[in-house]
Each structure stands twice: as C-alpha cells, then as structure tokens.
Amino acid sequence: MTAEVKVPFVDLTRQFRGLEKELMQAFVDVGRSGAYILGPPVEAFETALARYCGVRHAITVANGSDALFLVLKAIGVGPGDEVITAANSFIASAWVAVAAGARPVLVDVNEDLNIDPGAVAAAITPRTRAIIPVHLAGRIAAMREINDIAEKADVAVVEDAAQAIGARYHDRPAGSLGLAAGFSLHPLKNLGIYGDGGFITTDDDALAGKLRLLRNHGLRTRDDCQLWGYNSRLDSLQAAFGLIKLPKLDAWNVRCRAIADMYRSGLKNHVCVPEDKPWELNVYHNFVITTPRRDDLMTYLKDAGIGSAIHYPVPIHIQAAAHNLGYEKGRFPVVERLAQTMMSLPIYPELEQNEIDLVIQKIKAFFG
C-alpha cells in the first residue's frame, strides 16, 4: 500500500513557484545575452558570495565535489599524502583525496554528527597534508579545536561547507574558518540552483588565482595556457538563478531554524534531537534525529504520508569503493551506530505549519 504523500521529504517546486517570474526573466536575459560561460552573472554572483561568506574571494565551479577537489590540487596534495575527513559524510568528502592521488584518512564523529577533534589529532601523521572537517547537516564542526591541531601539525584546513551556507560559528560564517572552503549549490542545498554547481571561498589571493586557472583550462588569457587544468565552471544561467536566491537565503535559514525549534520541543521526549550550542548557528540543511526504533518509525511515517530519509545509511568506510583503504567494520563505532539510528525529517522554508504539526503528531503517536 502506498499512502498519499501529505508531507514530502523535499519539494523544490514550492520555492520555484514563488520565484518563477524572476527566474524565468533571468533565463531570458542570460539567453539573449549569448554569454553562457563565465561572464557578468558569474562575476556578480562571485562578488555577492564572497561578501556573504565574509571572505576576499569566491570562485564558482561546476559542483561541490570539484570545489573541494580543486582546492586540494591547488595546494599541491598528491600521491603519498594523507587527508583527514569524517567517516559520516557524503562519499565525495573522501573521494576528493582519492582524486588528488592522496589517501583519505577517515575518523569517527561525535554525537553531533561532526568530526571528533580528538580523533583528528590522533590521526595526524607526517604525511598529513590537509584536514577536511565536514559541516554536516548545516552545523559547523569544532573549528577552534581543529584549527589548533592543524596549526601545530602545519597542515591546511579545508572546510567541507557543502551543507552549511549561512551557518555561523562564534559569529563567523561558514567558509571563513579555514584556508579555504568548498560549497555545493546542488538543487537540494539551502542555496540551490537548477543543476550542478559549487564554489570555493578563501582569503588567500594566490590560492584564488590558482583556482581560477585550474577551473578554466589553466588559461590566463585566451591564448596563454599557464598550466594544464580542468573545465569546472558554473553556467552563467545558474549563476543568475543563484543571484536571485542569495538575498533570500538568510530568511530561509531563519525559517528552517524555527521549524527545527518546533521539532525539537515537540519531539525531545521521544527521540534524540539536535541541540544548538551557544556559539553555533545551525542552518539545518537536514534535521537529524536518532532513535533505536528508526526503521519502524520510518515505515510508520511513510504509511502516514510523511517522507523521511537517512543521511547516510552506509558509512564511507563500509562502501565497496573504500575496500582498498582497509577499514574493517567496527572501526568507527559512533558512525556505525548512527547509521542504524539516525533519520532526517522534512525541513525546508516552504513547509507549512499544518505539515510540521502533522509530523510531530505522528511521531508522538508512534511512540504512544
């Protein structure tokens, strides 16, 4: 039996319908300009993103994976090097190290889903070149501790901020807390476009210059190729969409935080809910709860027409792709337990009050 969907886990069309006129006008404007690669909308979007993240440079690229990968290439990470990241993330966080020719060194996370600084410190070796803390689900990792570890070990910190645009930590925005940060503009992100896209933030002028070369065939001018690079550019059309949405992002994030507050107070007696620490501004890309009865609850909600999802059911170290890295099951107990107990509830700015109420009511009913 398939229940009628009453509260979809995601529904991108709600935001689209609200902005349709502006978005379509942007489409026509860019279309008529005949300039579809780089060009004025991309420049304007990069300027706006840099300002939003409080950094000197934002460099747009083809997607969030490339954003992290190109940073590793730009700082010279290669074969023989190690890159430390969290075992509980989207697979791209580990892939970037593999793609650069380095070895991803996975570490366990804390109950807040983010990388455990103690485990990071223990994983440092003479071969470590970079740490990639993942700001999972919209919550910034313990950057003070991580930056301290990185400074002592003289390694770079590259924030995986794919899920954290607009999040803050001790009042500083995601993207301004390490050497560089990689963001995703994938449609499902808090700032999402209508295709693949991403960007890098950094305060380092030389790094920014190198990244602009790497993303566009190494070209300094049309006829001067400084290095053999990649083609990883944000389409001008997508930049124009991003420019329309960016000014609305803070209000959307405020709304997601309000929904999180409602979920938290409604559900805290039944499941483990994420709590904000005083120095955190979490933007709730996902609202992740944990319960030992996760699978039953998901089925129950599905039957009640409420969408939910797991981010992520198979930890990176257990994926077939990670076989060569030699991590056995049981190596990262927190990640593995979370993989059995966590689930994400619908959370997006356009979620209606009656939908939020229904989610809370059904979960309460499940626990009787």
């Binding site: 489409f27 420049e43 697979i91 892939w95 209508y194 190494g218 300094r220 006829d223 083609n231």
Partner: protein
C-alpha cells in the same frame, strides 16, 4: 599554492564579451535563443517535476544521441573536457602512461591527458590541420595507452591508418570529436570512430547547450557502464558506492536544450557545409589565401571555417576593423604553451603545426551567416590583398 601577493586572475573569454558586438559575428547564440519560448515551456516542466540531476530527459538525450551518431551507447557528462578525461580514466590511463596526440588543438585535449596522470606525446599535423598518421607508430612505446586524434574544425582524421596503428599495438583510440558532430569518414559517423568518441556541447559548438556539457559515444557496453559510474560519484544506487569517482553530469535542464537543438542538427550541419563551399569558391585563387583541399570520402562539418593566409595578423586586424569577427584558432600550438614547458619542446619541433598557427584565420560560418555577409567578407579579403 603560488606566492602571496601574486596576480589574481579572473579571465573571461573574449567571445563572451558582447558589449562590442561586430556586424558579422562568431557568436550567434542570441539568434539561436530567438525561439526560446518553446524550450522554456519544456524546461519549466522539468523544473516542476523537480528533475535536476540525470533522470528521464538525460536518458532520452543519450538514446537519441547514440542513434544520431550510430553508436550503441552515449553517456552525457559535464563538459567535452570531462568526456575526454573520463574516457581516459575508464580505459585505465594513469600516472606514468603516455597518450599520443596533436599539438594543434584546444587546451582541453592536453589538459585531459595531463590531469589523468599521463604524458602527452605530440605528433605533428598535416596540411589539413589533423594528426599525421604516418608519424604515430614511431612514437609508440611500452607506456603508450591511447591515441587521441582530434577531428579539428569538424574534419575527420585519417582514421583507417590511425585505427590500424592502434590495433597493431593493442592500444585504444580516444577520438576528440568535440568539433565533429555529424562529420563522416568513409561512411562512418564521428561517433563510430575510435574506441570512444568524445563530443562537446559547449555553447559555440555545432550541437550545443546553454552552458557546459559533453557526451561520450561508444560501442562498448563495458566502457559505457564504467563511464556511468565515473560521472556520478561511483554510485551504483543512492547508497552503494562502487568506486570513488567524479561528479560530471550534464544538467537535466541542459539535456532539454540539447534535445531541442538536436532536432535542428541536419539544418545546422547543411548550412555550415553550404557556407563553407561558398567561401571555398569565393576565396580560392585569391592572392594571399590558401583554401584547403577537400576530400570527397569525408564529410567536414565546419565547426570552424579556416584558411591559411599571408600577413595573417594584418588581415585579421583589417577584417575586425571592418566589423567582421575574424578569429585565430589558435595562435600558439600546445607544445609551445607555458604549461608545456615540462615537456621540453622548442620552436621547430612540429613545423607544420607552427606554420598553421602563424597563418590560420577563422571566418564566421554558422547557420545565421547570410550570403550577403559572405560576399562582403570575400570582397574585403580581396580588397586587403589587392591594395
């Protein structure tokens, strides 16, 4: 990382600067966009479905594209560059390998080889701008994993000879067909040439989208499956990652654009061919201009219409001064680029490529160019050399 304080670069290709549009242009995208209402409605449907990553439109495009170029499989990717790069990766090219190619190409050909970890080994071109098949065998070593011929400007390479050499040495042929959609070689479509054929949907290509995009055509089901994994994080399904791999997908909204324009590809191709013939007739025999020899066994699709000319830089300046967007593709061959310094080449290593780079000039040849505009260009060139 570079030294602190070094120059910050934000290079934007000049063909996208539309502020100083000329009367006769290379960039015709505003004209192409004229019937956007039709396509906008289709894109809206996709957006309303929330279909942004892969999905039905991408599947349909791949099926139609495979049929268009007579290949069993087509796998769309993020760009023509990625089509080349991922093909090399799918073939297992890695650190220490060598790939034989031409020095007369766009940067992406070499970028794909180098970023895949391999060393580009150059072979000079012939007068037709394409790799000289007779010189390839001498460059093959134990490290050679592939030959990457470039069908420059939409003119197919001497594939029988190239495939013969490759077969004799059991190495793959990765065709750079980024310029060559609908080109044919002795009755075979560009998509049938080589182990894989890589195409670009870059906005100024014969078949384009309105952003970056590319596609690989192949008859190998195994390579197609590998490419499908490589382009999408190595994901076999949402939760199962078989291999750590790339994100290189054609946006679903761009697949709509590609399908819309694919319906016009015969018209686009025939217009370019007709325009090129008209230039051939009008320019052949002019003082200072050398028109290419044509070969009846191949179909050139004229992504670019190029002639060799005396005093090329002065002619270009003169034409641009007369509002004609004459361009140079490209003035500096790959082996002489700063990025190639590590290969240790010098001026004179590939004399034909270097000579073409000094003398070649591209004239607008796309489907929106009119006969009157072509007559004007021809008369300007005649005037330039007669003065």
């Amino acid at each position: 990382m570079g030294k602190p304080g070094s120059e910050v670069i934000n290079f934007l290709p000049d063909q996208y600067r539309t502020t100083n549009k000329l009367a006769i242009n290379h960039n015709y995208l505003a004209e192409q966009f004229a019937d956007h209402d039709v396509i906008l409605a289709k894109i809206r449907e996709v957006v309303i479905r929330g279909d942004f990553t892969l999905g039905e439109e991408v599947d349909k495009l791949e099926t139609e594209f495979a049929a268009l170029c007579n290949a069993r499989h087509a796998v769309s990717v993020g760009s023509g560059t990625d089509a080349l790069f991922l093909s090399l990766k799918a073939l297992g090219v890695r650190e220490g390998d060598e790939v034989i190619t031409t020095p007369f190409t766009f940067y992406a050909t070499i970028g794909a080889i180098v970023t895949a970890g391999a060393k580009p080994v150059f072979v000079d071109v012939r007068d037709d701008y394409n790799i000289d098949p007779g010189c390839i065998a001498a460059k093959i070593t134990k490290k050679t994993k592939a030959i990457m011929p470039v069908h420059w400007a939409g003119r197919p390479c001497a594939m029988e000879e190239i495939e013969g050499v490759a077969a004799a040495h059991d190495i793959a042929v990765v065709s750079d067909a980024c310029h060559a959609i609908k080109a044919t070689y002795r009755g075979r479509q560009a998509g049938e040439l080589g182990t894989v054929a890589c195409f670009s949907f870059h906005p100024l290509k014969n078949l384009n989208v309105w952003g970056d995009g590319g596609i690989v055509a192949t008859n190998s089901g195994e390579l197609a499956n590998t490419l499908r994994l490589l382009r999408n994080h190595g994901l076999f399904n949402r939760d199962e990652c078989r291999v750590f791999a790339y994100n290189s997908r054609l946006d679903t909204v761009q697949a709509v654009v590609a399908r819309h324009l694919m319906a016009k590809i015969d018209h686009i191709t025939q217009s370019r061919i007709a325009n090129a013939r008209y230039f051939d007739v009008g320019l052949r025999g002019l003082n200072g201009i050398q028109v290419q020899q044509r070969d009846s066994r191949i179909t050139e699709v004229f992504h670019l219409y190029q002639v060799l000319c005396d005093g090329r830089d002065s002619l270009q300046k003169f034409l641009v001064g007369c509002d004609v967007d004459a361009k140079i593709h490209y003035p500096i061959p790959m082996h002489l680029q700063p990025a190639a310094a590590f290969l240790g080449h010098a001026v004179g290593d590939f004399p034909i490529a270097e000579s073409i780079a000094r003398r070649t000039l591209s004239l607008p040849v796309h489907e929106f160019v009119t006969r009157a505009q072509q007559d004007h260009v021809i008369s300007l060139i005649r005037k330039f050399y007669d003065r």
